[in-house]
Amino acid sequence: MVMHKMTFAMNKHLLIFNLIFVTYLKVVSSENSIEEDNDTQGRYLIEGKVFPADHPFTPPNWQASTQLHVNGGEYIGFVKEDGSFIVHNIPSGSYILEVLHPEFSYEQVRVEINSKGKFRARKVNHIQTSAVVQVPYPLKLKPLGKTRYFQIREQWRITDFLFNPMILMMFLPLLLIMILPKMLNDPETKREMEQIGSLTKFEMPEVSDYVTNFLAGTSQTQHAKKNAKNKKRQ
């Protein structure tokens, strides 16, 4: 989830980065007769450019550690000094191209080559295969951000400790016990409190009274009778 946040930050950087960076140059070296021959045989090449992370984060020798995998390594491309790449010998079809770098993550791209050799690149959407969000071809691949492999260790902070519900539960009552009596020492507040107390005070009928009365009533009459008898004997 922090990834997404990171992504936005990186994108901002990259915008500036892009302005400085030389605009994309098409690679010429591959334009030769063989390739043209191959085209007629239905072999195409996917080309584009990989951008490294923004300047302070650019890993040294990133070109050597970056690879391009088409369809999970069926075809492989390597990155040249300037970041450009070509994946060779691809027959027409639909492919997923991913940039592999151990430290940075890139978005996957789906590249479709029709039988006439027309290219279309779009965002990978496995769920809605019909939804097409096109991306420019030749590809320009920018890092989404540094790949976060690790969890960040929680650090002990006093605020965490204090706002812990357990601590709150223990200390708040303590505070109340300590402070409330002090407040009550003030005679005026005492009186106010009493008033409030008398307001809420109302007579509750005592059940025990009723029961005692009820039971005692009968027993008392008996008692009385006994007494009476005793008296008579006397």
Binding site: M169, S208, L215, H223
Partner: protein
């Protein structure tokens, strides 16, 4: 505690008045009230004075004790409602309290009624036990609604032993 104090005070007061009950009955209408004698006090004292029997007061006390658990029921219900059905330390503590209090009370049954030993308190005891049982019932209900009672087959799942296999199989894809 406060009630006891008050009662004892009242008791004293009523004893005093009982001593001169004859006197008061004679002079009640005729004589004006002595200074610092409040009418309300007289009224109550008069009320008490009517039931001068100490055993009656003991009865009343005993009934108060007997009814205390039942009086707790609405409070317990409220606590139960407030505690919620989630399983965390405070609800568990509350449930523990709900159980502990009536059980302890039941164990100390005779001790509780010792103060009123001179009269027969079987009725009170029954009511007292009933009240505590109601409280235990409430606690059980709470446990049930919290899912703490092992009433479902899933609660015993952890004790289901893996079945002993009667056959063993081995092999795989042929090597040649």
């Amino acid at each position: 505690m406060a009630t006891n104090k008050l009662q004892s005070k009242r008791f004293k007061w009523s004893l005093d008045s009982s001593k001169c009950s004859k006197l008061s009955s004679i002079n009640e209408s005729a004589l004006p009230a002595p200074p610092a004698y409040s009418t309300s006090g007289v009224l109550s004292s008069g009320e008490v004075a009517k039931k001068t029997d100490a055993s009656h007061l003991i009865m009343k006390k005993s009934w108060e004790v007997a009814l205390a658990p039942i009086k707790q029921v609405p409070m317990n219900l409220f606590i139960m409602y407030m505690a919620g059905n989630s399983i965390s330390i405070f609800p568990i503590m509350m449930v523990g309290m709900l159980f502990m209090r009536p059980i302890q009370a039941l164990f100390q049954l005779n001790g509780t009624f010792k103060t009123v030993e001179n009269s027969s308190v079987i009725g009170q005891k029954i009511v007292y036990i009933f009240g505590n049982l109601v409280n235990i019932g409430l606690a059980l209900y709470k446990c049930q609604s919290m899912g703490l009672l092992p009433t479902h087959s899933s609660d015993w799942l952890a004790f289901v032993e893996p079945r002993v296999r009667q056959e063993y199989i081995g092999g795989g894809i042929m090597f040649s």
